[in-house]
């Protein structure tokens, strides 16, 4: 076997591997352990804020996907009540908000400088191409 042939064989093997991964990502059913998108206020957040730290926990915009990640779960692990997104949450309490329709939801939120928090709920992936895109976006979010 010449060097050129073995190089071609390696390339073909890589291509098959990549195509296999893409086919899996596009066709395998989405199997998520939990549909909760969890945000927690850690213990000591109030003390840190009082000490002058800028503690940002909730982003201005949260993206959810119907049928996959469509429940916003907010949990207060701090020692004082906190306005967290749309709710006043007591220490040790959680607020679990499910979404059933794709839309953009705006909530008044004093924890944000803008006074508003947006939740964008997108339709669940429908078909191989959208499933692939959804997985790619999740991967990019993890790396970001």
């Amino acid at each position: 076997m010449t060097a050129r042939t073995s190089w071609r064989a390696a390339l073909a093997a890589c291509a098959v591997l990549v195509l296999g991964v893409l086919a899996w990502a596009a066709l395998a059913p989405l199997d998520v352990a939990s549909r909760d998108e969890l945000f927690e206020i850690p213990h000591g957040t109030y003390a840190r804020r009082m000490a002058g730290d800028r503690v940002e926990i909730l982003p201005d915009t949260i993206r959810l996907t119907l049928g996959v990640k469509d429940v916003l779960l907010l949990r207060n692990l701090d020692e004082v009540p906190q306005v967290f997104g749309p709710a006043l949450i007591m220490p040790g309490q959680s607020f679990r908000l499910p979404f059933e329709r794709a839309s953009t939801y705006s909530f008044a939120c004093t924890a944000h400088a803008s006074g508003q928090m947006n939740v964008i709920v997108e339709p669940g992936p429908d078909g191989p191409w959208q499933t692939l895109r959804w997985r790619a976006r999740q991967l990019m979010r993890r790396w970001a």
Partner: protein
């Protein structure tokens, strides 16, 4: 003569029993507080001429919203939705009390609240009071209200969610603005059944 139940069968029955007991309650359409806390009490003047206190409504499910009678967009939609929900509930509607707490005490006196709410459902109760009393109520529920001056007066930018307070006076859930009447019916039935 009774025969002893085989140990494995007893264990299986116990496991099924525990699983049934530990099974999560059916999900509400609203956002759920877990664990629920006692809903902060109100001490406000009611549109029905009496003092509005949540303890008055023990045994009923209270749907409480915040708004103002001059509101042109959000409040009428919320109240129309709650009116429709009560109609859909049929005889269960008697177990539901809607309380509308104003964020505009300057204009919303008990009489004005009564006239405004009667256009939706005469059973609705409005609540008003001194600005500081209303602010304390809003703070205790995490409700915001910001006065916005306009050329011809003012309006309010305010939280538009509806609070669901169960028959024992516990703050169980919060329904964001925009849900349909049938979602309220769904949750009311679940909360009254518990």
């Amino acid at each position: 003569m009774s025969r002893p139940i085989p140990r494995q069968l007893a264990a299986l029955a116990l496991a099924f029993g525990l699983a049934a007991h530990a099974a999560p309650s059916p999900a509400l359409k609203a956002g759920v507080f877990e664990p629920p806390r006692q809903a902060p009490e109100l001490m406000l003047r009611g549109s029905d001429g009496s003092e509005v206190k949540l303890s008055r409504y023990r045994g009923k499910l209270v749907l409480m919203s915040f708004g103002f009678t001059s509101c042109a967009a959000v409040c009428p939609v919320t109240l129309a939705t709650l009116t429709q929900a009560r109609k859909l509930l049929g005889s269960l509607a008697d177990s539901v009390q809607v309380v509308f707490v104003t964020v505009d005490p300057e204009r919303d006196d008990p009489q004005r609240l009564k006239t405004f709410l009667a256009a939706f459902d005469p059973a609705f109760v409005g609540a008003t009071g001194k600005p500081e009393a209303l602010e304390a109520v809003r703070r205790s529920y995490g409700v915001s209200a910001r006065k916005i001056p306009m050329a011809d007066g003012y309006l309010f930018d305010h939280s538009s969610s509806i609070f669901l307070i169960d028959a024992e006076g516990r703050l169980r859930a919060m329904m964001p603005y925009g849900h349909e009447a049938r979602d309220f019916v769904h949750d009311v039935k679940l909360l009254l059944a518990k």
